[in-house]
């Protein structure tokens, strides 16, 4: 179903080991796809024309703390597209702060920065675990960033270059594992490592429903009113965001799920794991077809510890994969079906005497 197209080399260095270390955002009207990934204290941002498969342009940002001027340890990178803006922004979460960069203009200039210590109420909640960010999403104009204390930071986008912070959401008791939003239904879900999923009301202010999975959640995504969960044990689960019921469970991987991506137009789901494999499923939710997570395709990437995999367009026809310690991201594309050969052509050619 998918075939390897090319490997795109990073401008410098190797890919960091954080789960979900590849974020993608595509602009349908402009056929532009942006991708971002982290590498210790650098963030690499790629953009390309997804219609013509043009050359990939890279921008590299060295992330330093604006106060101390020292390089920071990046723990999460997310590309989000607030409605108040024309182009996406890169959200960089680190062990000290959250920074926002524009993907289009003055990429290397910080648009907004806020330190974790200044905004989190329970900054020193656990003396063994230092501060960090994990899980980045955006609902309308609210950028959400998960943190080690279980609090979710809310950063409001008030215009092209105007961001402000709001009071944090404190509903999770343990570190946030991931946050995801369905860009069509505007349903936002967050999950903590202890297995609790929270489905947030619209707009993100109060809890709509809590789901207790009892699984060590690592990654989440939302598609067609289902929250899809990837665990550290390699299990994928589908929960209804309306009832909180478990609908389906897939045993596909033997190592932590590092990424779950969705293609809203085709209802394809991509799961990738540190076991060097990624799988594609088709989610059937509409009647008369019964609910089904149909396995469509699987691929093994030898000796690649996959840390991030994403569809690079809404149709789910192409995939980008980032692996730990690699110097390039791998691109895959859906194979075009071969038209059947005409009957005459099928006959073997007779050698001329």
């Amino acid at each position: 179903m998918f075939e390897h197209i090319r490997d795109v080399a990073l401008p410098i260095g190797v890919i960091a080991p954080f789960s979900g270390n590849l974020s993608v955002c595509w602009l349908d009207t402009r056929n532009i796809t942006y991708a971002a990934l982290s590498q210790h204290s650098n963030v690499h941002i790629a953009n390309w024309d997804n219609k013509t498969d043009s050359e990939i342009n890279w921008e590299t940002i060295n992330i330093v703390d604006e106060v101390t001027d020292r390089p920071v340890e990046i723990t999460a990178v997310g590309l989000v597209h607030p409605n108040a803006r024309n182009f996406p922004v890169v959200i960089v979460g680190s062990t000290t702060s959250v920074q926002i960069y524009d993907v289009k203009k003055n990429v290397t200039r910080v648009m907004f920065q806020i330190s974790l210590e200044s905004i989190l109420k329970e900054y020193s909640v656990n003396k063994d675990v230092g501060a960090y960010c994990k899980g980045i999403s955006c609902n309308d104009n609210t950028v959400l960033v998960g943190t080690h204390s279980g609090e979710i930071m809310m950063l409001m986008c008030n215009g092209e270059s105007n961001f402000s912070s709001r009071k944090t959401l404190k509903e999770h008791k343990t570190p946030v594992a991931d946050i995801a939003t369905c860009r069509y239904d505007e349903i936002t879900c967050s999950a903590s490592g202890d297995g609790e999923i929270i489905v947030w009301q619209k707009p993100v202010k109060a809890v709509s429903i809590r789901i207790l999975t009892k699984h060590p959640i690592n990654i989440v995504n939302v598609l067609r009113k289902h929250v899809i969960v990837g665990t550290l044990r390699g299990i994928i689960q589908f929960y209804s965001v309306l009832t909180g019921d478990l609908a389906c469970q897939i045993h596909a991987h033997a190592r932590p799920i590092s990424s779950i991506s969705v293609a809203p137009e085709s209802a394809y789901i991509l799961s990738a794991s540190e076991d060097s494999q990624f799988f594609i499923y088709k989610l059937h939710t509409r009647k008369p077809h019964p609910f089904q997570a149909e396995h469509r395709f699987g691929m093994h990437l030898p000796d690649k510890l996959i840390v991030g995999a994403q569809f690079t367009n809404g149709r789910g026809s192409s995939v980008a994969v980032a692996s730990y310690d690699q110097t390039a991201i791998s691109m895959y594309k859906i194979k075009k079906l071969q038209a059947p050969l005409p009957a005459a052509a099928e006959q073997p050619i007779q050698p001329q005497v």
Binding site: G13, T29, N86, T108
Partner: protein, 438 residues
């Protein structure tokens, strides 16, 4: 991110160091008289007792951050020279390369992050097996075992994942080719670890063996609907987790990683050069090196006035191997492209200064002013210490303070202006999206 990464990294690296030194000392003792054997045992005992000594472990457990590789190498150099044995600089570089790669292999290959504790216990057991009858060593091992178990057993699955990620982050970019791994097809010729082989079953995490991999299970009203189960083809064979106790002196644990692999295979060769502790790129000295400072200030040698007994040892089989290692390491280091991304960076501070027409000259503009980060003075001191012969007399009254002027700001360089975009882009269309959502 987590303060729990360094003690595990330290123990596993220390275990590897002991295996390598043991193997090397045994090889050299084979060609010498019986007196040399007892000397080797003494060397090993001195080092083990220091590596797992209460005060050393206390310092390690107190330290919050993993130090840069260059500094960590100095710590291990100090530890390796705790007795009468001395390694030259190239041997120490090679020792550090072997230690780093062995630990990285374990961290990449573990079934689940919690298994790092099992790997660490394997290392403790391996160290004990070097001198199995020595009571002092046994006590030190038991003390270390208690310390590690009391700290790490209560950790949650997520915290373990964080610990593993922190260690992997630290070891990213290191691709030294180890002959032993290459020979066993555990490392590719490009230096990448072989993660899964089709002929070897993949170990599953605990409780994951109840449902076969490749199964889709459906639920209705919270209950499994078995007749709807689906199965798809998988590439590998899987085996259940070996749920064995993580204890000392047991015949088997859930993994053999961390065991002394030099017992079976004697090769310590490296292909294509290394020197990661010497040639580390892109680190910035920080002030998190308090423990190093304390270790540096202590006289770690347990043997005083034994200069005449100093025993030189090399990790190279012959001078040619050593020459090749140096040459290949230099070539490898020469290939590394250094790009300073900070040059193009425009900070909020510099932007404000630019907008307000701030006229304060940056420190980079000042003649003769050199920029030094926190801890750079200490690093200079350590470099100096490493360059001194191990037998040199200890210096007194050395100050770690640097006399250089501390700059006020980071850089005076300005990024190049980017061309403004031609026109304001239109917002991503929504009609198609809505259609798809419906």
């Amino acid at each position: 991110m987590t303060e729990k990464a360094l003690p595990l990294l330290y123990l596993n690296m220390a275990g590897e160091m002991m295996y390598i030194l043991d193997q090397r000392l045994k090889v050299s003792a084979e060609f010498t008289a019986g007196d040399e054997k007892s000397k080797s045992e003494k060397v090993l005992k001195d080092i083990i007792l220091l590596v797992l000594g209460k005060s050393t472990l206390d310092e390690i457990f107190k330290t919050k951050m993993i130090p840069p590789k260059k500094n960590l190498k100095i710590v291990f150099e100090k530890l390796a020279h705790a007795s009468i044995m001395r390694l030259n600089e190239n041997s120490m570089d090679k020792l550090f390369d072997l230690m780093i790669m062995a630990v990285k292999y374990s961290m990449v290959k573990v079934t689940m992050a919690e298994q790092i504790l099992t790997v660490s216990i394997n290392h403790l057991q391996g160290i004990q097996d070097i001198l199995p009858t020595d009571l002092d060593v046994r006590n030190a091992i038991e003390h270390a075992f208690t310390m590690y178990c009391s700290l790490y057993r209560p950790l949650s699955v997520q915290h373990w994942h964080l610990v593993r990620t922190s260690i992997l982050q630290y070891l990213a970019g290191v691709h030294i080719k180890i002959s032993l791994l290459l020979r066993d097809d555990r490392q590719s010729p490009e230096g990448v670890f072989v993660l899964n082989r089709e002929d070897v079953a993949v170990q599953l995490a605990p409780d994951m063996d109840q449902v076969p991999i490749g199964t889709v299970i459906y639920y209705q009203n919270g209950k499994r609907v078995e007749e709807k189960d689906e199965h798809f083809e998988v590439k590998f064979k899987y085996e259940p987790y070996k749920n064995l106790p993580d204890q000392l002196n047991v015949p088997e644990r859930s993994t053999d990683m961390g065991e002394n692999w030099y017992k079976k295979h004697g090769s310590l060769r490296i292909q294509g050069g290394g020197g990661i502790g010497k040639n580390e790129v892109g680190y910035k000295a920080g002030n998190e090196m308090k423990f190093l400072e304390s270790l540096m200030s202590r006289d770690l040698s347990t043997n005083k006035d034994l200069d005449s007994e100093i025993m030189a040892m090399s990790l190279f089989d012959d001078p040619t191997e050593e020459k090749n290692y140096i040459k290949e390491s230099e070539e490898w280091y020469g290939k590394i492209m250094k790009i300073d991304a900070t040059k193009n960076r425009k900070s909020l501070k510099s932007t404000i200064e630019e907008k307000t027409g701030g006229s304060r000259p940056s420190s980079a503009d000042k003649k003769g002013a050199t920029k030094k980060s926190k801890g750079a003075g200490l690093l200079e001191l350590m470099d100096e210490a490493a360059a001194r012969p191990p037998t040199a007399k200890p210096r007194r009254g050395t100050s770690t303070e640097s006399s250089s002027v501390k700059p006020k700001s980071r850089s005076g360089s300005r990024p190049k202006e980017r061309a403004p975009s031609a026109s304001a882009p239109k917002r991503a269309g929504s009609a198609k999206k809505k259609a798809a959502a419906n």
